[in-house]
Amino acid sequence: MSGFFALPGYVQSALLICWCVLFVADIYCVIASFIHKATVSSKLICFSNFLFCSVGFFTFAFGYMSNIRAVVLLPFVMKICSAPWVTAFLLFGVSLIFTLICLRKIKIWRTEHITPMSIKEGTDKLPMGICFHDKNGVTRLINHRMEDICRLLIGETQFDAFVLWERLSRGDVCHGNKIILSGESLIYSLSDGSAVSFTRKKVDVDGADYYEIKAVNVTREYMLSLNLQKRNDETREFNRRLRQYGEKVDDIMREREILSAKINIHDELGETLLATRNYLEKGKTAVSRDKLLEMWKSNIALFRTGERKSLETKSSFSDLYEAAEVMGIELKVVGTVPEADKGTLRLIISGARECLTNAVHHANATRLTLEIKRDKAFYTVDYTNDGTPPDGEISEGGGLSYLRQRIEKEGGFMSVQSEPDFRLTLKLPCEGGNPNDKSIGG
């Protein structure tokens, strides 16, 4: 025996092991070339190399086995194994070179081309959740983040994507998760403290319809919006208190003015007393006797004025009664006067003023009746008189048109009836009512 057979047993074993590794590598190269859809020439090279390596491996394998037990070798196997031992190494070397070339080509191809696996790896690295499904709802691609989100929201990662979207839209999710915004874009606050925005859109892939669902982390924006909402609530509360202050500030300023006036009176009286004492003690003073007398008259007149019943105890509406009395008209009020609702009261008085004037000038009336009714959102005030009805349609002059402007500016309504009798009707929004509630007034 010569050639390969002449080599020591351990050398033959080592060579065969190397051939075996090469053989496996060539199998990989062939499979890879087909999977990656390599060019025809590349597939040919890989396949040819695989065949060459296979022949070489099995040839020397059979040759090695013939050493161990009696095996009938094929003539060409015999021939190759009998060739000088360098042939075995040479053949191995050639196969090795071609295998290395194929492996390198495959490596280059993989770095330069996107494979389905690389797409999956890439999407798994995305910070957002993403899922692609077909028109039947079958998921084609889903990344880890989306799986985690779905596990939190619906407790599973295998689902019909259409059902998933429907559940998200309805808010039908596991406890601890909360829908913040619904619509085309859905925003959820998840049980892990994060906030996610879901969007879905249709994509065309080679003429087929697929759907892409994205879940973007908007936790920071959500926290900012919560913070903003909190600050807006605080600002609204400040504004509410400022409005309340605005309503009270007139009373506060009034009290200040009253105090200032009282101080003035006190000072005047004090000055008068001092001047009088000087006059009585020393017989002369900085002011003349007549002037002193004038000062006392002024102070006494002031005290006498103060003896009159204070107007402050009278209600605002009582001024209207007095004004009507001055005009020789009896004012009759049916219903409850909204004394606490200053804005409405003022408008009612303005309406009464117009009607008083017109009742005297045009109707020769002796009585003006105000009928005040209230529903949820409006006060309705009807003004009528017992005078002569108007001749024909009333055209709104300066007073009535000005009144209308003010009423409408405050969200109220005004109507003037000329026949059969004069009637002015005001519909005035009450404080806390909703003047836009068309089911009630207007």
Partner: protein, 208 residues
């Protein structure tokens, strides 16, 4: 005798005016009322020659609005506005309404009786300017007209968007003006600015 109508909702100033008129030989008090909206009624019924008209009267009825109405109906009636509020727009609004004279209760050196005499004689007496009051680190005269407009609206407690809509400017412009006013006055918040402005009386919002 010159017939005088007093329109003043506060008892002390009203009584002071009444006593001044009563003590005078030239003037006769027709009536004292609290509500400017009813002043026309008394002008209809009495031969009023002169009105001492406060601006902020009972139920926030405006003496300026009442003056404008009365001047249209009764141009011969003289009107003197009497106020203690240094609201910056009152002087111009009074002039536009046709008010004859203007008197600041606490600041004017001239006694009211003297002003009444001059007004009845045909003079129109107005102060040169609104009283200047301090507001924070600056004076009321240091604000621009637009700033005062916005400051007035700010006292309503409404949002920048609402204020901007009323004034016909953007809410960002409103915000910038408020920021400028805060920097000028040294106040720390818009609430503080609004409260101080309202307390000082340099801006008063007509609510009704």
């Amino acid at each position: 005798m010159i017939k005088v109508l007093v329109v003043e909702d506060q008892a002390m100033p009203r009584q002071l005016f009444e006593s001044i008129i009563s003590a005078s030989a030239d003037y006769e008090l027709v009536q004292s009322i609290r509500n400017a909206d009813l002043a026309d009624v008394y002008c209809e019924q009495f031969d009023v020659d002169l009105i001492l008209m406060d601006i902020c009267t009972d139920m926030n009825s405006s003496g300026l609005e009442a003056s404008e109405r009365i001047k249209k109906k009764f141009p011969q009636i003289k009107i003197i506005i009497v106020t203690s509020m240094p609201e910056v727009s009152y002087l111009d609004r009074a002039k536009n309404a046709g008010v004859d004279s203007f008197w600041y209760k606490e600041v004017s050196d001239e006694p009211i009786i003297s002003l009444m005499n001059r007004t009845v004689a045909g003079e129109s007496v107005y102060p040169d300017s609104t009283p200047v009051v301090p507001l924070g680190q600056i004076k009321s005269s240091d604000f621009s007209d637009r700033e005062l407009e916005i400051l007035r609206e700010l006292t309503s407690g409404d949002t920048n968007a609402d204020i901007g809509e009323r004034l016909g400017i953007s809410q960002h412009t409103v915000r910038d003006h408020i920021k400028s006013m805060l920097e000028k006055t040294g106040f720390h918040s818009r609430t503080e600015l609004a409260v101080k402005a309202r307390e000082s009386g340099i801006v008063i919002l007509d609510r009704y």
